[in-house]
């Protein structure tokens, strides 16, 4: 076993040594004669040396070309962006986008059609519903990638797990009184504020993304103050999987149903309700909740994966 393990290193060492000596010889060669071409009849040694030199030259040339190409691409990109920015309508101008059909339509009809007082939510969750679905999936995919890269779940090496656990609180005190007192006061307020923002998404500024981010931040604060044992009572990997799956599935199905019936002019049984009530605006409230759940789970999952590699 040992010889097998040593083999590649030995090979590497040989190669490095050869390469080094080749370089020295090469320098002398260059001094003597600038034009040195590989001869086919020469033994393997010199050929190797020349190969090393060629590689170096090619790399040098490539580096120069790389710099030039990068500079050119940057210039081209800057040019395109500046040109595009110059074509944009003037910021804050009196007649900017007033004549746009879509804008006028949204401003006039959003509240009526979707029942949302906050027409931003009306637009992003109704007219542009698939955009938001895509964004939720992007978040989910980001967490999946982080899970793939950083997860130590199912790691057979127990030592590594213990190491990660020990390193987890390397710079932090285990029970910080100040942090715990603040967290005890703040966490409920933060969570309630997040829920309020989600629930009022169709009435006041906010919505699923902002509220979900606040919920996630509250969870992170709680976890930081009280440790994994307390959070594991209500939030484990299983919870994350269940909530994310149900939320994304519900969003896809509800939005699919809504768009299908709307596009075919079939009555869908979803009424806007009394505009201004919490329980109104049809699908917007549940969709806001669903997006909020996905965002909160994502934030917390990113945090725990970065921190410990495990829930």
């Amino acid at each position: 076993m040992k010889t097998k393990k040593n083999d590649p290193f030995q090979h590497l060492k040989d190669w490095i040594e050869n390469g080094d000596s080749a370089l020295e010889v090469e320098m002398q060669d260059e001094l003597d004669d600038t034009e040195s071409q590989p001869l086919p009849k020469e033994p393997a040694g010199p050929q190797k040396k020349l190969f090393v030199l060629d590689k170096k030259n090619v790399l040098k040339r490539l580096n120069i070309w790389y710099a030039v190409a990068a500079f050119a691409v940057c210039l081209a990109l800057i040019g395109v962006l500046v040109y595009a920015a110059a074509q944009l309508p003037k910021f804050g101008g009196a007649d900017t986008l007033v004549d746009s059909e879509v804008t006028a339509f949204y401003v006039e009809n959003t509240m009526e059609e979707t029942g949302a007082v906050n027409i931003v939510t009306g637009i992003i969750l109704d007219y542009r519903g698939f955009d938001t679905l895509g964004e939720s999936h992007v978040l989910f995919i980001a967490v999946c990638t982080v899970l793939l890269l950083l997860s130590i779940h199912g790691e057979k090496d127990e030592e590594q797990k213990l190491k990660a656990d020990a390193y987890d609180r390397h710079f932090e005190p285990h029970h910080d009184e100040v942090l715990q007192c603040c967290a005890r006061l703040l966490t409920p307020l933060v969570l309630i504020f997040g829920l309020y923002i989600i629930a009022n998404g169709h009435l006041s500024p906010g919505g699923g993304f902002s509220g979900g981010a606040i919920l996630g931040a509250g969870l992170i604060l709680y976890q930081n103050a009280f440790g994994y044992k307390k959070t594991e009572r209500f939030f484990t990997f299983r919870t994350f999987k269940l909530v994310s799956l149900c939320a994304l599935l519900f969003y896809s199905l509800a939005k699919g149903y809504h768009f299908f019936t709307g596009a075919n002019h079939i009555p869908n049984g979803i009424s806007a309700g009394h505009v201004g009530n919490i329980l109104s605006a049809g699908l917007l409230l549940p969709l806001n909740f669903v997006v909020g759940c996905v965002v909160a789970c994502t934030m917390y999952a990113l945090y725990t994966m970065f921190r410990r590699g495990e829930f």
Binding site: P205, I214, G216, A217
Partner: protein
Amino acid sequence: MEALNVILLLFILVCAVAVSRTKNLLSAVIIFMAQGLAMSVVWILLRSPDLAITEAAVGAGITSILMFIALKKIHAIKEEGEADENEEE
């Protein structure tokens, strides 16, 4: 209100330059956090409170926390702890 706007925008500019000029990674993240907070106030002044909420929670809060953890993972935060140990010795 105009003055506050100008001050905040200048603060953001200074922060943005400072982040790239700072050698200490920990300070860089904290400056980045301050920039995010100023940015969220600017969003309020631009009358988009929903963006302000998101910026405060994500830009100033969660991003910085993730960066702190990343710094810890790459062993970039260690001066304080080591200094304490040296003093004790």
